[in-house]
């Protein structure tokens, strides 16, 4: 029999594997396949392929600069340094965010859903072991589990 579980890469996945190996399953019966993201010819520049995350970084960088200027100027303005600093941060963040977001908007097609299967665990086992393995996979946060009949 074959049973397949998909997981996110997590410590729970390793817990599941360890528990299985401590029962009657040997490591030769287990096969791990890493599932890669869809290769995309167009990559957006930056640390991740998530446009919002990269834009946040640029926003923080320019927001910080503008907060310093805002707070400085605030010492002579009615609203004072705190409010002017916060306004500066907000305006700077928005400008930085937009400067990254809009030029890269078209290139980005990262539609990451919450639980992306990153690993498939394939286990070969006897018919009688099936319910136990299935239970362990579900217990340690498998995203999907399937088995051959």
């Amino acid at each position: 029999m074959i049973i397949i579980g998909t997981f996110e890469q997590s410590i729970e996945l390793e817990q599941a594997l360890t528990v299985l190996e401590n029962s009657s399953i040997s490591k030769d019966q287990i096969l791990i396949i890493f599932m890669d993201d869809k290769p995309s010819p167009i990559q957006i520049p930056g640390r991740t392929q998530n446009i919002h995350s990269n834009a946040f970084e640029i926003g923080m960088a320019s927001g910080t600069g503008c907060a310093v200027i805002g707070a400085s100027v605030g010492f002579t303005l009615y609203l004072g340094p705190i409010i002017c600093g916060l306004l500066g941060a907000l305006i700077g963040f928005t400008i930085g965010y937009a400067l990254y977001y809009f030029p890269n908007e078209g290139k980005s097609h990262s539609k990451k859903t919450k639980n992306t299967p990153e690993i498939a665990v394939i286990i070969q086992c006897a018919n009688s072991q099936l319910p136990f393995i299935e239970e362990i996979l579900w217990k340690y946060q498998a995203i999907t589990v399937g088995k051959s009949n």
């Binding site: 890493f34 923080m60 960088a61 910080t64 907060a67 707070a71 400085s72 705190i82 941060a89 070969q124």
Partner: protein
């Protein structure tokens, strides 16, 4: 090629994970300009970054750079000129400029080391148990780290297990809070006393704070992302090794 020990992407110590990462050199240079030392922190040069940031706070204070900046931004250029201490200002300026350039240069070089280390894919540890600490790589949420550092710079660093940097940042934030009187001023602001709130603030110390908070948020956010990447790489290395199969058939009969 490099030296006899090929570089792995990360190393674990009692102080947390020290790792290589891809950084945009311009971004690193920018943070060095915001606060000398920060660029080096983002490149994981923790000791020199700490010394640079200490040097920044003291020489800036002696040279009255922050006060001069405030006067300049407000258009009071004569006041700015008179407040700067030439005894300290020239040295400050030299160190400031070279720090920016140094961090840019380091970022460019470390990006190349990263590429090599990434391709060599040498296994690195995921858990370290020490006499006083347990350190490990885990998957975390970037926005949580950023939010913690927004509340109190240093807390985001605690979130990514860099506790040395966390307490260094928290101690300095307390000093800034005390000397700038920001929280007292915030209280007045919340009570609706705008004028009183503005008068309480101490300009020299207040001006360090946006940079420190911004840097702490940026550090927590990007470090979390990098740790998540490292986690996936390290787990993949380990599992691939452990469950390696020379041959593998799901269907025993040859098709």
């Amino acid at each position: 090629m490099m030296n006899e020990h090929d570089p792995s992407l990360a190393k674990m110590s009692v102080f947390g994970i020290t790792h290589l990462q891809k950084q945009n050199p311009l971004m690193i240079a920018w943070w060095s300009a915001v606060f000398p030392g920060f660029g080096h922190y983002f490149l994981n040069h923790y000791i020199r970054a700490t010394l640079l940031s200490l040097s920044e706070v003291f020489t800036n204070t002696f040279a009255h750079i922050n006060d001069a900046m405030i006067y300049s931004f407000c258009g009071k250029f004569e006041l700015a000129q008179s407040v700067v201490q030439p005894k300290w200002a020239f040295g400050y300026l030299i160190i400031y400029m070279i720090t920016i350039w140094d961090s840019y240069r380091l970022a460019t070089y470390q990006n190349k080391i990263y590429d090599i280390a990434f391709l060599k894919n040498i296994q690195f540890p995921r858990i370290g148990i020490y006499f006083s600490e347990v350190q490990f790589l885990d998957r975390k949420k970037p926005i949580v780290g950023a939010f913690y550092s927004f509340l109190f710079p240093g807390l985001g660093q605690l979130y990514v297990h860099r506790f040395g940097l966390a307490f260094y940042a928290m101690i300095w934030w307390w000093i800034y809070l005390y000397l700038s009187r920001l929280h007292e001023s915030l209280l007045q602001l919340m009570l609706g006393n705008l004028h009183a709130s503005n008068l309480i603030l101490q300009q020299h110390w207040l001006l360090f704070m946006p940079s420190v908070m911004g840097g702490a948020i940026f550090h927590a956010y990007t470090t979390t992302i990098e740790h998540n990447k490292l986690y996936r790489i390290a787990q993949r290395q380990y599992l691939t090794n452990r469950y390696r199969k020379d041959e593998c058939f799901i269907f025993h009969k040859q098709v």
